[in-house]
């Protein structure tokens, strides 16, 4: 056991954080988020060139990293920069493609190619097994029909990895398959929008869309579980990065904002609440490390759910306290802390929320 990063990974971490620190301001981030794409293609390409995308995937699949620890150092930096560039869609799609042995696609993603992973549906909430989209065999391919909901990065993606049912009922674990779809293909209707925290997502309607099966037919659920667990780990690390900024900004504000003739940081009630926030941050960091270390192990689901549950609880508390301790200024668009707080809170809606993962932990405990 060891809690220090390897030299290589420390370099990866330093590079990612330096890029974020030196290459964008919060205004540039907002500008990118407000653009038609919802992110900066140029910035994303630069980061791909630095190897920050390839680091998310294992070597044997066309990347040069892919461990839980590689993923968290990259996403912690993504969180510190509130980057809206499609790291998460790429991680999800790439992880699915890597498991299917589609190394060409993984390499394309590592090089900055735009893919999205469409697994959720309007009625599925956080239930992975809920897949109503159908895939019917036609010739040597398949035809997809159905709707996909809140698909991150779909509006700009060239390729979509889509879950669809080749057999079974809408909520059966068996009978789900994964398909590669050309985003420009006939019958693909994508309605893009921005999330409340500024990230590009879309609703997708599929009508008689021809698609290519990837992985084993009917066995897609295992990949979906692995992909969403990886995504959950990534957003937990992203939340950690955002939480660190919330705390640092609040700390600075407490030291500089004066009321009643002294810095508000000298008021003990705020000091003690600040201390509790720092304690929660360390707990989040540990939970993220635990989940990263078990991403490829038998206890993956327990530790990922534990991290997501703890991030959901502690992250929201830190975000709300960061706003409250700032006061009015944090309620304004122009002040950065509000956007970090929004991201931390909204991450609870990705890959299952606080209660969903508490439920998973209970189920796993019963099984054990």
């Amino acid at each position: 056991m060891d809690f220090n990063h390897t030299e290589e990974r420390q370099m990866l971490s330093d590079m990612a954080e330096r890029f974020v620190r030196e290459n964008l301001t919060i205004e540039q981030r907002h500008e990118a988020a407000a653009s038609d794409d919802g992110f900066s293609r140029e910035r994303y390409e630069q980061m791909a060139e630095l190897g920050l995308i390839g680091a998310l995937f294992p070597e044997d699949a066309g990347g040069f990293g892919g461990s839980g620890f590689d993923i968290i150092v990259v996403f912690e930096a993504v969180g510190k920069g509130l980057l809206t560039e499609p790291f998460l869609p790429s991680l999800l799609a790439g992880t699915a493609l890597a498991r299917a042995g589609r190394n060409d696609d993984v390499e394309a993603i590592a090089a900055g190619g735009l893919y999205a992973f469409a697994y959720g549906e309007p009625a599925s909430r956080y239930t992975l097994e809920h897949v109503g989209t159908t895939a019917t065999k036609s010739g040597d391919g398949y035809t997809l029909d159905g709707n996909k909901a809140v698909v991150l990065g779909a509006a700009t993606a060239d390729h979509l990895v889509v879950s669809a049912r080749t057999s079974g009922g809408t909520t059966d674990a068996d009978g789900i398959s994964l398909f590669l779809v050309d985003a420009k293909a006939e019958g693909v209707h994508i309605r893009g929008y921005s999330t409340v925290d500024g990230y590009p997502a879309a609703e997708i309607a599929l009508k008689d869309v021809s698609a290519e099966l990837i992985g084993d037919e009917g066995k897609g659920i295992e990949t979906i579980r692995a992909v969403t667990a990886t995504g959950a780990l990534a957003v937990c690390a992203e939340a950690l990065g955002a939480v660190e900024v919330c705390i640092d900004m609040t700390m600075d504000y407490l030291k500089t904002r004066t009321q009643f003739g002294r810095p508000i940081g000298m008021f003990q009630a705020l000091q003690h609440r600040m201390v509790d926030m720092m304690g929660e941050r360390e707990q989040i960091r540990s939970a993220v490390i635990n989940a990263a270390g078990h991403l490829d192990g038998e206890q993956r689901d327990w530790h990922v759910s534990a991290a997501k549950n703890l991030v959901g609880r502690a992250g929201r508390h830190i975000a709300e306290e960061a706003i409250q301790m700032h006061g009015g200024i944090a309620m304004t668009w122009e002040y950065a802390v509000a956007h970090y707080a929004k991201r931390v809170v909204m991450i609870d809606h990705l890959f299952g929320d606080t209660d969903h993962h508490l439920e998973q932990i209970i189920k796993l405990g019963r099984a054990a």
Partner: protein, 399 residues
């Protein structure tokens, strides 16, 4: 003690209810229930309807046309208004300036301004906070200096967090007229016509992208001395008076109950693993617990208001109700956001404008709710943050 409504109270509730059914414009109620932005014209229509029935100034002292409602009646009015989807009365003129004029204003000021507040001629906003003076209001720096004629103040400085200032004709301000003695001792209370040269309103965009508050800048703004309320340098007394004055609405009980109903509606509609989210034990527990808290708060609020009307000192309890009320409503906002699952994420801000036909995503109720959660973080910050309220209570109870 008796928790049952008397016949009179039941009759009163029925009156209010039928008023809401017949006089509250349906389009406005619809906007409120779907959380669309209200226009100035919406507020004006609603205030006119309330005024016609004598409800607009029901909370005023009877000698100024108020209805002398007791705590129970005020609770009923608040709850019925919110349940019907009535917009809350814009408080700046009616419940903030009016009481000040009634207590400190000259006969002329009362006769001139009060009717115009009632009939909507003047839309008022509040000029208290400044960038450097938030919690520490007494440190405000906006200056008012008498000109050579001695008939006008020349006002310079900046106010902030001015809610709905973009609609306002007039602003009431705390300004510094002296630097002698304690900061509290050099403050005066001025009424300023927003159309005076040198007054500039700049929007502040909230964290979720809406525009409801503003900065108001004053550059050599000429204000007649006649527009000062009360004595020069005695403005702090007025500010303090307002702080402890009639606050029967401070806990926002009606809003909490209406928000809980909305949450229940959503939780019943949302499906989780084939059953309604309202049947999920964790979510049901969160909703049940907040309902328990609201039920207790409603009684606390009526107890405190009744005691206040009997002349008892209720300062600490009123501050406490502000804290309890905001904690409860923020919890409901949080649960409402959570209830949406992934569909809390899509946000189309144009769709908040009434009449907009911008497409939204997910269930029809979903679009505004995450933004609403973030927006309502303000409630524990404005009007004296919960930290300031705790300081006030501690000072009053622990010496």
């Amino acid at each position: 003690m008796d928790l049952n409504y008397s016949d009179d109270e039941r009759a009163f509730r029925d009156d209010i209810r039928s008023f809401m059914e017949t006089k509250l414009p349906k389009d406005i109620a619809q906007k409120v229930k779907t959380k669309k932005n209200l226009t100035k014209e919406d507020y004006e229509r609603w205030h006119a309807a309330l005024n016609e029935a004598g409800y607009l100034n029901a909370h005023w002292p009877t000698e100024f046309g108020g209805k002398g409602w007791n705590a129970i009646q005020r609770d009923i009015f608040d709850v019925e208004l919110e349940a019907a989807g009535g917009p809350r009365i814009v408080p700046f003129g009616l419940n903030m300036l009016a009481p000040v004029l009634q207590a400190f204003g000259s006969k002329e000021q009362q006769e001139h301004y009060l009717p115009r507040i009632l009939d909507g001629t003047d839309w008022w906003c509040q000029g208290y906070s400044e960038p450097g003076a938030g919690s520490d209001l007494a440190s405000l720096k906006t200056t008012a200096v008498l000109d050579e004629t001695g008939e006008n103040y020349i006002v310079n400085g900046q106010k902030t967090w001015t809610t709905l200032g973009q609609h306002a004709d007039w602003i009431f301000c705390l300004v510094r007229t002296s630097n002698e003695g304690k900061p509290q001792e050099g403050i005066s209370f001025l009424l300023i016509d927003m159309n005076t040269p040198g007054v500039e309103v700049r929007p502040i965009i909230m964290l979720e992208g809406t525009h409801e508050v503003n900065e108001v800048w004053f550059t050599d703004v000429k204000v007649p001395v006649a527009n000062r309320v009360g004595e020069e340098n005695k403005g702090w007394t007025i500010a303090k008076y307002l702080l402890v004055h009639e606050r029967s609405g401070i806990a926002c009980v009606g809003d909490a109950l209406a928000s809980l109903d909305h949450l229940k509606h959503i939780a019943n509609d949302q499906q989780k693993d084939g059953k309604s989210l309202a049947d999920d034990p964790f979510f049901a527990a969160r909703m049940a617990q907040i309902e328990v808290d609201i039920s207790a708060m409603r009684t606390t609020n009526m107890r405190v208001q009744q005691a206040g009307m009997e002349g008892k000192e209720i300062g600490p309890q009123v501050s406490q109700l502000k804290i309890t009320g905001t904690v409860i409503r923020q919890t409901i906002n949080d649960l409402t956001r959570r209830a949406l699952g992934p569909y809390a994420m899509p946000f189309v801000s144009e769709a908040l404008e009434a009449g907009s036909n911008a497409e939204t995503f997910g269930p029809d109720y979903a679009n505004p709710l995450a933004a609403d959660y973030f927006n309502h973080r303000k409630t524990s910050i404005y009007g004296g943050s919960n930290e300031i309220q705790r300081n006030i209570i501690a000072k009053m109870t622990m010496g």
